[in-house]
Every structure is written in C-alpha cells, then in structure tokens.
Amino acid sequence: MPLAVELSGVSFSYGRGAPPVLAGVDLAIDQGEFVAIAGPNGGGKTTLVRIVLGLEEPASGSALLFGEPAGRFSRRATLGYLPQRPYLAAEVPATVREIVAAGRLAAGGLFGPLRRRDRAIVDEAIARVGLAAQADSPLARLSGGQQQRAFIAKALAAEPSLLVLDEPTTGVDVDAQEALAELLHRLHHDLRVTVLYVSHEFGAVEHIVKRLVLVRGRIVFDGPPSELPGRWHDPSHVHV
C-alpha cells in the first residue's frame, strides 16, 4: 500500500533568487494517519500543503500522493481540502446545503443537477458534522464554529482519501475549537481517512494526534506531541 504523502528532499522558493521557504524537507505519512503540521506564520506550512496537494511544484525533490506525482495526481476528486478561512462574499446568502453540495462537484460531475446518490452523500456529510437541522440555513446566520463545520462537511462530501485542513480554527472560539477537534477525531476514527491538520498552533488537537510535525523552513520536529521539547511548545515563537 503506497504512502498517502511522500516528500523527498523538497525545496521551494517563490521566484528566482528569493530565499527558500522550504529546504530539504522529507516527510512520509501513512494512509489513515492523523498528523498535525504546526509552525510559526511564514514558516512554510501552507507552502508545504500546497506542494502536497500539487498546487505548487517543488524547485527540487519530489512530492508523491498515494504513489503518484502530486502535480499529476489522477484521483483529485477524492481530495478534501479546507483552505484558510474560505472566502465568501458577505452578501452571498449560501445555505449549508449549497456549500456542502459544492464539495461534490468533482466527484458528481460538473453539469446538470446532482444525482440522487450524490444528494444522499451531501446529506450524510451534513449529518456527520451535526448540522442537519441547519442544512437550509444561510451560512451567515451560523456561528464561526458551525460555519467551519459546514466547510468540513463540504470536504467530506468528496468522500476523501486525504482530508487537509489549513488553519481550521481561525476565528473560532476556544469551545468551538475543542468541539471541532472532537469532530475531527470522530471522523478520522469512523472514516479511516488520512488527516493533515495544519495550524500555527496545535493545542486543540494535541490530545488526539499521535504525530506532530513542526515546520520552520525545514522540519525541526517530527514525533508524538508529548516528546516536543518545552521551548517549542508554542510553535509561533519557535526560534531555531
């Protein structure tokens, strides 16, 4: 069984002559793992995720997704991605169901209405994140935590083999962060999906992940959160 993610000697910089954002990154993630990727803002986390997802090509080294080059990955419809606070025009009164249905776009076909099976998958994703009662409510009427759960349901609607969440707790209060972590723990357990949780802080998931990867231009720590040296416990203040 191929690794879910395999980065070998990956380096990257934005533009010729620019300082490297990432240098010599090696990372192997098994299928079904739940990994937190943490590090300070500007440390290269989001770039690393973009390389994993095939949105950026490494300047050197290789990036594989389920054994295929990430940039030419053939099963993109099975990638569930929650970007940093997805942009929504304030005036767009999109409902939870409309947002989650957008996650079925690649798998369910681009044209015409959704088929019955796809609609059932959308309903199931909404129910999994506990928003069945709010399915037809405009997103703007929901709390920050509920909005984030709606976008997680959107990612789930793709029936993902890899679920990537980039800064999922931005703008979410502490209680909602904990509820979000519990939800992710349950989804990982129930669906056996590989989860990459990317954040500048990992307190919310510290007790549920077995592996923490700390990125600051390169990987400075890779192991259980309990073994993280104390001086790095607040990764936003990491100084290597």
Partner: protein, 265 residues
C-alpha cells in the same frame, strides 16, 4: 404601444436581456468583479466604432470586441500579469480610447452611435432580435447547465482547483458570457449602462434572498421587471430606455433594502 413593431421588437429583446444580464451578473458580483461589465462595455464601444469604420454590422463587431475583452481581462487576471483592478483599468481606458479614435476616423459621431451608448427602443431590428434571441437563449441554457459548477467555483475556488475542477475554463466561460451579455444588451440598455443591469438586480435580490439559488431567481425577476417597466416608461415619457431601466433596478434595491430593514426591526 404593441401596435408598433419597434416596441414589440424592443420588448422581446428586452425580456431576454432582462433575464440574461442578472443571471451572468450573479457570478460576477459573487467574485467581486462587479465592475468588469463596465470594462467590457468600453471594449464593446471600440468594436461598435470599428463596425462603423469598416461598414460591418456594429452589433457583430461589438460582440467580438466584448467577448475578446472579457476573456482578455480574465487571462490577465489569472496569469497575474496584472492585478484584477489593473487589468480592468487597462481594459477600460484602452477600450474607450480605441473607440474614440475609431469613431472620429469613421466620422460616425451621430444619433445612431448615441443609441448604442445610451440605448434606444427605436433601433432594435428584426436581425438584432434574432441575434439577441439566439445568443441570449444559448447564454441562459449554458448557465442552467453549468450552474452547479459555476456556483461551486464562486464558493471555494481554491478547493475546486484542488479537486481537479477546471476552474480556469469556468472563469473564462463566465467572462465570455459577460461579453455576450454586453453585446446583446447594448441596443436596449446602452453600452454605458448595461453593467448596471448585470449588477443592481443581484445586489437588490441578495437583500431579501435566503439562498444562492433564490438570489439568482429573484435577480432575474427584478431584471426582467426593470426592463419591461423601463421600456414602458421610456415609451410614454419619451425617455432614454437605458436610464429608465437602470433607475428602476436602483429603486428595486431601495425597496428590498427597506424590506430587509423592516424584517430586522
């Protein structure tokens, strides 16, 4: 009013324009590209002027210029050759400058040209109606067929890109539809005001809508009503139709804003 053929033609073409313009504008507003219609309108003006200069149908040359300008600005935006507002500025000023130069070269600064700029109910020909009907219905059918894909990209462009959705192609499709809308609407509403008919009904609808789909349907209803009532007012008041139509769409915004305020109180 309907005894007169030019009014029947204006109403038939206007009904299609009233439905198509907000349907396309819906996606532009949500991508925060409300002003692109103005930029495309300026390019269409250059196309119309070129038509006068070389003696080809100005509607056809306007159509080619509008679609070309729309796709061009999307290309500039996505290639990051220019930021979104810079790409628009380039389109605005190049279009209007080219139009002015071509109009002066053609010696076509006449009433017919003003009809393109501000709209006229007298100038819609049977040939225009056929073109408006064919392009308008194709545009509406395309939106109906690709609605889910276009809405999905609006909601989360990056997520759609990761999932392998052809985001670039869908964005070009929206821009191309915007160009077609400008071209088919310029006889009725006028090049300088058509962008308003694409945007104002959507903004008005979003004040009272409860979902994306309801926003689209309400916007199309407001667009249609604005055009039909605007043409009627224009006929009886001997006013320029473009201005009447757009003022009605603005009034719809005021009305829906009041409804929203009343609901919130």
């Amino acid at each position: 009013m309907f005894d007169l053929e030019f009014m029947r033609l204006a109403f038939a073409a206007g009904a299609i324009v009233g439905l198509l313009a907000p349907a396309v504008g819906f996606f532009l507003v949500q991508r925060r590209m409300s002003l692109i219609g103005d930029g495309i309108g300026h390019t269409a003006f250059a196309g119309v002027a070129f038509g006068y200069l070389v003696g080809i149908s100005p509607v056809l040359t306007g159509l080619v210029a509008a679609v070309g300008g729309a796709v061009g600005v999307e290309w500039l935006r996505t290639r990051r050759t220019a930021a979104g507002d810079q790409a628009l500025a380039l389109l605005f000023y190049t279009g209007i400058a080219a139009g002015v130069v071509l109009v002066s070269a053609a010696g076509a600064l006449n009433a017919d040209l003003f009809a393109f700029l501000f709209g006229s109910i007298l100038t819609v020909t049977r040939g225009d109606l056929v073109l408006v009907a064919v392009l308008g219905l194709v545009g509406l059918a395309t939106i109906g067929l690709a609605y889910r894909a276009l809405a999905g990209v609006v909601l989360d462009e990056e997520g759609a890109r990761v999932a392998g959705v052809p985001v670039g192609l869908l964005n070009v499709l929206v821009s191309g539809l915007a160009g077609v809308t400008i071209a088919v609407s310029m006889r009725i509403v006028g090049i300088l005001l058509i962008a308003a008919l694409m945007v104002l009904p959507v903004i008005a609808a979003s004040r009272v809508a409860w979902s994306m789909r309801s926003t689209l349907v309400l916007a199309m209803g407001i667009g249609l009503a604005s055009v039909l009532v605007g043409l009627t007012v224009s006929y009886y008041g001997d006013l320029a139709p473009g201005g009447s139509i757009v003022l009605l769409a603005s009034a719809a915004f005021v009305a829906t804003s009041l409804v929203r305020a009343f609901r919130s109180a």
